[in-house]
């Protein structure tokens, strides 16, 4: 990696100040996306602003009808948290199946969402549950947050602080892993609850997206069979040596069916 300065602010306000003062500075949470990129010299930040000491970004708590997860919550914490398991077991399941043990012990929900890798897991849950993203500046609805491949509504000096998940009646997640990277090749997060019926598809396209036809079908009849016949258009989907757009489109249906079955 190239040389960089390192800061570890204790408050959100200080962190924002550091990022605002230097356009080439970058936030770092678990480092499990950023550090590999630095090692490959794909990224050349002037400074790293380590968020891990900021207390207000930590913790998982129930607030009324919502589950609020601090951006610094590591995947393992979400996977093992009793509140999460009770309120949204599909979310705990998703977190428990990200990467491997080392990744889950370091990677954070905030880092994953800010990065918005098309093959990441969390974006599907956030969009599929209609969560709200709390930042250092504002609140952003999930539907407005994920803008495109590795792109979100976050501004350069804006820090993701917490995610508020409305608790659904039922929710389920299923994914097909890329055989090499084990990131998502195609996944579906489905839910029914205060935010209506939602189907979010990750891995298949350049950015997580909602599958409207499946949502309509499930609203009418919540069952795996309801989505089984709905075909995803391969146009615009990702294609690589592991899966063509056609294969991914096919998997979208299969994973949606499995997710509904898992949701019960």
């Amino acid at each position: 990696m190239y040389d960089f300065a390192y800061h570890k602010p204790a408050t959100l306000a200080d962190a924002v100040k550091l990022l605002a003062a230097d356009p080439d500075a970058k936030a770092i949470s678990g480092g499990h996306t950023l550090i590999p990129a630095l090692k490959l010299r794909l990224n050349r930040p002037s400074a790293l602003v380590d968020l891990s000491g900021i207390a207000e970004m930590k913790g998982i708590r129930r607030e009324g009808d919502a589950l609020v997860i601090g951006a610094l919550a590591r995947h393992v914490e979400v996977a093992e948290n009793a509140e999460v398991k009770a309120a949204i077991p599909a979310l705990a399941y998703l977190a428990a199946h990200i990467g491997d043990v080392q990744v889950r012990n370091r990677g954070t929900i905030g880092g994953s969402l800010a990065n918005n890798d098309p093959a990441a897991d969390y974006p599907a849950a956030v969009l599929g549950l209609g969560a709200t993203l709390h930042t250092s500046k504002r609140k952003i609805a999930a539907d407005d947050f994920f803008l495109g491949m590795f792109t979100t509504a976050l501004e350069p000096d804006e820090i993701l602080v917490a995610v508020s998940f409305p608790i659904p009646e039922r929710a389920g997640y299923a994914k097909m892993k890329n055989p090499a990277s084990r990131y998502v090749m195609a996944g579906a997060f489905v839910s029914k609850g205060p935010m209506g019926v939602r189907v979010a598809i990750n891995g298949a396209g350049p950015c997580v997206f909602r599958q409207a036809a499946m949502e309509a079908a499930l609203a009418a009849n919540w069952s795996p069979e309801a989505v089984a016949a709905i075909k995803q258009d391969p146009e615009g989907l990702n294609s690589d040596i592991h899966g063509s757009a056609e294969y991914r489109a096919h998997l979208v249906t299969v994973m949606a069916k499995r997710a509904v079955a898992a949701a019960g």
Binding site: A180, H242, S244
Partner: protein
């Protein structure tokens, strides 16, 4: 007295001595070695598959902080190319094309990753920073990234002097006999397949540290090698012109090789040369990305085969035509892999009387290809064992019965095949029967029906394989083009108080030699393994050696040790006869005790060795003091492990995903020294075989960019990709080495791939699927069954 309790000799399931060191992080790997004043090398590699270098400007780099040297091929004048250790001859008797393999690119780059320049600096980061400041003026040329592209008429040439990109066009066998047999055959079966290109991926990336002592003129190279003496010979004699006596090569603990660390690589020569030039030690350590584009790859064959059978299913003849990818340059042993390690195995375990094979080796703009675990034999086995399943299906034979009918029978050994080899021993019927029983072959249809009820497609596949290892006799391999002998060296040093140091020319990089070899000593000399130290991997300590590959360490290296122990015993008997005032003929030796036959007079090995080193009462007129013996063992033949593997899989038809649910291996590896180590070797090999069958595939795009250039895109097998691997052995002894051993390092990687693919194809039999190329990825299976109906 040295009585060994508990039993630690041949056959004992002794825990590995080396594991305490490895599991507690106290192994000493090349990258753990740091020499005073050490500098770091970074190698600038070509981003293009094929380009002319119009110029290189290193001036900015040379001025960067910490830089102590920047070198290109212009600085290496007088240094030889990397040598190739095996020369194959064409059908017409002319030698293969052997273009120069420069240490650093000379005027042209020929694959992504080809080394272009070296920066040496105080730190690794400074070296890398400076390398980014080098400007290389590339004129990009059209590349040939596949054999099909390289063989197309008018294709760009990888080497100007090699027309048609053909390295050699070789053949073996009796074409006329094969044609005659085809003419009278009842059945003819054609099968075409690609043996997928693999990236070895040892856990430890390659590393090399060069050091030069100006006061003595001695060079030292620490390197991740499977054969330090071979590197000393190749690099000293052919590249850098350093006499052996002034060059020490050390291969300390090595974290896996699988063949990829046999070869002499440019980086070894670079650090050795640069250390002398700069007067400071130089270290180079590959990262994983570099490993993908600079370690020799494996496999990469395209083959068409035809099998002729009579009406009863007896194999009459086999005709094989293979194209083998050499990559951009000839790696050290590349030419022998698709010839003498492949085509000579095409008889398999069968009595096919006539075989003809032709092999074209092709240069492409890709990383050089060389031996990878199994080397040639997995390619031959995959071809044959798929072909037999295809033939059974096409001609309506039961695939197990078809195998049985064509097996070489136990009483036919020694068996001369039509493709040069003479198998010494084996019992293929026994290994087949044992494997079918262990895998509950008979109960399979019930399991298939049960799986179907769950929506899964279940299939089962056999593979009855043979391999040749412990490659052998030097005179024979010499006549086939090897530019080296293939014996092994063992020294047994009995110390004054009876402990033993073993010096072996074999090299352990995961195989557990320190345990297995100590067990040989425990068994024969009666010394507890705690008192046996096995030394390997250092040309300054071990007299000589050819290293470890081709499952040769025990069969060849162990036999050398056994011979050396014979010499120890013979000398010990003379000393014992003197001490006990008996005649030498009356001395018996068993497990550490010299005894006068028929009496209770006895001396332990420790007593004898003490007498040898403190020769106060000693036959000094006839015998030299000391108790140390060396043997060079040149094998009489290859050894021929064989056996039967059975894979069972389930497929999710919706996604095409294959789950391996059962794997049974019954191997004949000859005499088993340590069953636990054999099981580990077989399981590891099976894991790699399953990897080749289901997951691993090295992919280049048409421009020669490596698409599977990291673990993100190259799928290695992980624990949950595997099933429990049940390992059993059925032993027939090797008849020509003193230990009766055959070798177990490669059997898993050889036997497993066709078993897995046979199972996958069997699972899809109702769809009319006859073949699936490796790796059988979910996407591939899904696309094949797309649109087909049951």
């Amino acid at each position: 007295m040295n009585v060994v309790t508990p039993f630690e000799g041949i056959g004992a399931r002794v825990k590995r001595k080396e594991d305490l060191r490895f599991l507690s992080g106290r192994g000493q790997y090349t990258d753990d070695i740091n020499r005073p004043g050490q500098t770091y090398a970074f190698i600038l590699r070509s981003p293009h598959a094929h380009a002319r270098i119009a110029g290189i400007d290193t001036s900015r780099a040379a001025a960067m902080p910490g830089v102590v040297g920047v070198f290109t091929s212009a600085d290496l004048a007088g240094i030889g190319g990397l040598p190739c250790g095996w020369q194959i001859h064409n059908k017409d008797g002319t030698p293969m094309a052997e273009p120069k393999h420069p240490v650093l690119a000379e005027g042209k780059v020929r694959h992504v990753g080809d080394p272009v320049a070296v920066v040496v600096a105080e730190t690794r980061a400074q070296a890398r920073d400076a390398a980014e400041a080098i400007t290389v003026d590339y004129e990009v040329l059209p590349a040939v990234a596949s054999m099909a592209a390289a063989l197309a008429p008018g294709a760009p040439l990888v080497h100007e002097g090699v027309p048609g990109n053909i390295c050699y066009d070789w053949h073996i066998g009796d074409a006329a006999a094969v044609e005659a047999a085809f003419a009278r055959a009842a059945h003819r079966v054609t099968f075409e397949t690609t043996n997928n290109r693999l990236v070895p991926n040892a856990m430890e990336p390659r590393c090399a540290v060069g050091e030069y002592d100006a006061a003595t003129g001695e060079h030292t190279l620490y390197t991740t090698s499977q054969n330090p003496h071979v590197i000393r010979l190749l690099m000293g004699a052919f590249v850098l012109n350093i006499p052996e006596a002034k060059l020490r090569v050390v291969a300390p603990d090595v974290g896996g090789g699988f063949g990829s660390k046999i070869y002499h690589y440019a980086e070894e020569a670079i650090v050795t040369w640069a250390a002398a030039r700069l007067g400071r030690p130089v270290k180079w350590t590959a990262d994983r990305t570099e490993a993908f584009m600079s370690d020799a790859h494996g496999r990469d064959h395209v083959t068409r085969a035809e099998l002729a059978l009579d009406a009863e299913g007896r194999f009459l003849a086999l005709k094989v035509s293979t194209r083998a990818n050499m990559g951009a340059y000839l790696s050290t042993f590349a030419p022998c892999v698709p010839t003498y390690l492949y085509a000579t195995l095409l008889a398999g375990v069968y009595t096919t009387p006539a075989i003809y094979a032709e092999v074209k080796a092709v240069f492409t703009n890709t990383v050089p290809v060389d031996a990878y675990r199994g080397a040639g034999r997995p390619e031959a086995t995959f071809l044959l064992e798929r072909l037999v399943d295809v033939a059974a299906r096409q001609c309506g034979f039961d695939r197990v019965e078809l195998r049985r009918k064509n097996f070489i029978r136990p009483e036919q050994f020694p068996y001369q095949t039509p493709v040069a080899l003479q198998y010494d021993s084996g019992n293929y019927h026994a290994t087949l029967d044992q494997a079918l029983a262990a895998a509950d072959w008979a109960g399979f249809e019930a399991r298939r029906a049960e799986a179907k009820a769950r929506g899964r497609l279940r299939g089962i596949g056999p593979s009855t394989y043979i391999e040749a290892c412990g490659i052998a006799p030097s005179a024979v391999v010499g006549s086939l083009g090897a530019r080296a002998g293939l014996y092994e060296v063992g020294t047994i040093r009995v110390h004054p108080t009876g402990s033993v140091t073993v010096l072996t020319g074999a090299h352990s990089h995961g195989q557990g030699h320190e345990t297995t070899f100590a067990q040989l000593v425990a068994d024969k000399l009666g010394v507890p393994i705690a008192k046996v130290e096995v030394v390997h991997g250092d040309t300054a300590k071990v007299p000589f050696g050819m290293g470890t590959y081709g499952s040769r360490s025990l069969a060849v290296g162990g036999s050398a040790m056994d011979r050396a122990m014979d010499k120890i015993i013979a000398k010990g008997k003379k000393i014992a006869a003197h001490l006990m005032e008996a005649s030498v003929e009356d001395i018996e030796f068993e497990r550490g005790i010299f005894r006068v036959a028929g009496t209770d007079k006895a001396k332990s090995l420790a007593e004898i060795s003490l007498a040898a080193y403190v020769p106060h009462n000693y036959p000094i007129e006839e015998l030299e003091p000391g108790l140390e013996e060396t043997a060079f063992y040149d094998p009489k033949n290859f050894t021929y492990p064989g056996g039967c593997h059975v894979a069972e899989v389930e497929i999710e038809p919706e996604t095409g995903r294959v789950h391996l649910v059962n794997f049974t291996a019954v191997d004949d590896v000859g005499r088993v020294i340590n069953p636990m180590i054999v099981e580990g070797q077989v399981q590891g090999g099976v894991a790699q075989g399953v990897g080749q069958a289901l997951l691993e595939g090295c992919v280049y795009d048409e421009e020669g960019q490596l698409l599977s250039g990291s673990m993100l895109d190259y799928a290695m097998p992980r624990a949950d990709d595997l099933a429990p691997v049940s390992v059993a052995t059925h032993t027939t002894l090797c008849t020509h080495n003193p230990l009766g051993v055959k070798g177990c390092g490669e059997v898993g990687a050889i036997g497993a791939p066709p078993a897995v693919i046979n199972a996958v194809v069997d699972a899809l039999r109702d769809w009319g699927v006859t073949h699936i190329e490796m790796p059988a990825t979910p996407q591939k299976i899904w696309s094949i069954i797309q649109g087909r109906t049951r």
